[in-house]
Symmetry: C2
Subunit: 409 residues, 2 copies
């Protein structure tokens, strides 16, 4: 008898019918003799509807109050799922983030989990109850309600799995697993049997969308085995774990892509040792995630700095930089929106120095201009025009033989 | 500079437009130099929609989970009102029941407030913030979310006013005050300038609907002056306070009515000293409110007992009595649904013994049969057929000259 954490995303609990279906999956696990902790997101479009209400009142609603508003979404789902389990003859108890002991830092809209006070959940498991926890939300030491930002429910699930020493954390979603690339856009995409945390981290970071990188990182750090699987289809998903024994023959495991990227370039920064640290710590203080960074020194005195951000953060990033112009001491800022990032990922790359070169050749052969490049040990990313994103993805997917028979299903 | 508690009911915050309107009323009070604490209900039909979701899953949803579900309604309103105040340039902070320190007993669906831990609200008032509190909800010592049942938001407002020693508690609603009878049904109804707590208590208890009796009782016990007023019209409402100096010449101050009443009769109870106590403590344990009670001893050994309850409680009441048949030792139960209660209220009755008789004469002259009667020092109630409720109300309203010029407006 073990302990399983299950997470159901917004579409998997998007209607009463879906909630009843999720309840069936919970009961199946319980009937295998396991203790079950379930983490759920808000129902389907609930969050969007709540955001819509807020936007009718304020163009830029107070972040604390947005957290107050949005956390009701998951609270609705936990109560309904608990009722569904009751109705099907199973004892269940639902907990909001604060009740479940999800303790976070005091930042609204994008808080990190600091601790999980697990006693209350453990007590309910001991009583034989299925425990249902609202994802995406937590509470500060001062009793303020916070949200975890993007991928928050995944992070809640993995954090609980880690804290409770769960045997496994199952991520139920609307796809059947992790694919070599997004099957909604590239029909040759194939499901992977398993991937390593690092590969998944790159795939997730690069917009594969199935699982948030924060959650993968958390899982990696605490050695929580994950499985991404369908909440509807009863088939094996994709296991995410430390050691991937199969498919090692493949250098590239997947092609990820992400649109709505903006490149900002700051010209004429003083060529000092602290310049870069200052600019990025200023942005970080405002929770703006910078992805690719390119520095080019143009003279002995000044340097130019390009970086990519999500287009939705552009307005705030520009404002933050403008507000700190005196301290940062730059000349001017230029920007280019309408960009996308395409990346190849695979742990086999470490020993294959020619992979990046091959990627650039493939893109060049397809007439795709590369705007920025970034590499790590297991991935290579290229920023391209948004209109060319899928063309680039398909070319790379084919060139690295991902749709071929070498992929294990 | 004082402290005002304002309460806005469901219709007064039923849309974004209404919330913006409520924000204006809050700001007016703040600009008079007062500290303001605002208590709000769920937006319009939100609670009904949430109940509808639950009913799709379970015919009798778990009460704990219903509380979890329903409390999201007020949480949505507090965040939106807070955003509206921010947008209009005022600092505001919203609190759920548990954040506002509304401590209740551990009963789901109908908990009573045990204590208000007011430090967190006081701290925010000290910082110059408008404080917005979710009505209807609280938290137990064990951290369980509870709801206060009917009239819960009124009760929250009065409890906060009492705990914070507020100068006044304004109940903003969709009517302009307390009337001699329900103006939606009786066009001769007139607004009262002021009523005493006791009169309001009887009026509220009798279904006047404007303000819940629990809230009035709370206000009376803690000497909180109340005003019932319109959230739309800018006119004086009805003051509810200890001493009513005007209108003392009127014996009857108002006619209240309430439909959906069921009379239950328990036949053949043992004629023992503990019989009545046992039956009503059994019902009370299940939070079933019994209103009028009539006992008639038919033999030396047994007694028959009639009592009226809300029709919605009938199913549960019957079940509770059936489950306890062995202990209660009665013969059989009969019931009559489709009844209503019509009552005349006024503190002047104490010194007018003929008022009850006059009421019975008026009803008899209108051809209305009285099924049950109950009297207190300041009211007389008669249970009649539901179809005759409004006819009885109109006859009494006219007979006691409530639409006449004697009423102060």
């Amino acid at each position: 008898m073990g302990l399983i954490v299950q997470k159901f995303g917004g579409t998997s609990v998007g209607s009463v019918e879906r909630i009843l279906n999720a309840a069936e999956r919970v009961i199946e696990e319980k009937q295998r003799g396991n203790d079950v902790v379930v983490v759920v997101s808000a129902m389907g479009k609930t969050t969007d509807e709540l955001v819509g209400l807020a936007k009718q009142i304020s163009a830029q609603p107070n972040k604390r109050e947005m957290d107050m508003l949005l956390t009701t979404g998951e609270q609705i789902t936990i109560s309904l799922l608990s009722m569904a389990l009751n109705e099907k003859g199973h004892e269940a108890v639902s907990f909001t983030g604060w009740q479940a002991g999800i303790s976070t830092e005091h930042i609204h809209g994008n808080a990190r989990i600091l601790d999980v006070k697990k006693e209350r959940i453990q007590e309910q498991l001991k009583n034989g109850n299925i425990v249902i926890v609202a994802g995406f939300q937590g509470v500060t030491e001062a009793g303020e309600i916070t949200t975890l930002g993007r991928g928050g429910s995944d992070t809640t699930a993995v954090a609980l799995a880690a804290a409770l020493h769960a045997d496994k954390c199952d991520i139920y979603t609307d796809v059947t697993g992790v694919f070599t690339t997004d099957p909604r856009y590239v029909k040759e995409a194939r499901k992977l049997f398993s991937v390593s945390y690092d590969e998944m981290l790159e795939l997730a970071n690069l917009g594969a969308g199935v699982l948030h990188p924060r959650a993968v990182e958390f899982a990696k750090n605490y050695h929580v085995p994950l499985e991404v699987r369908s909440s509807i289809e009863r088939e094996a998903g994709t296991i995410i774990e430390e050691e991937v024994s199969m498919e090692q023959n493949l250098v590239v495991r997947g092609v990820a892509f992400e649109d709505e990227i903006t490149r900002m370039t700051v010209f004429g920064l003083p060529n000092s040792l602290t310049s870069l640290a200052t600019i990025f710590s200023t942005l970080a203080k405002h929770r703006i995630n910078v992805d690719i960074i390119i520095q080019s020194t143009t003279s002995a005195d000044t340097t130019n700095l390009s970086f990519s951000i999500k287009s939705e953060d552009f307005h705030e990033a520009l404002q933050v930089l403008a507000n700190n112009k005196t301290v940062l001491n730059y000349e001017r800022i230029e920007s280019e929106a309408g960009l996308a990032k395409v990346s190849i990922v695979g742990s086999g790359m470490i020993s294959n120095p020619g992979v990046a070169a091959e990627m650039f050749e493939v893109l060049a052969a397809s007439g795709i201009q590369i705007k920025m490049v970034s590499t790590s040990e297991i991935k290579v990313s290229a920023v391209v025009e948004e209109q060319q994103m899928l063309k680039a993805t398909e070319a790379l997917h084919q060139a690295f033989e991902l749709s071929g028979t070498k992929v294990q299903l």
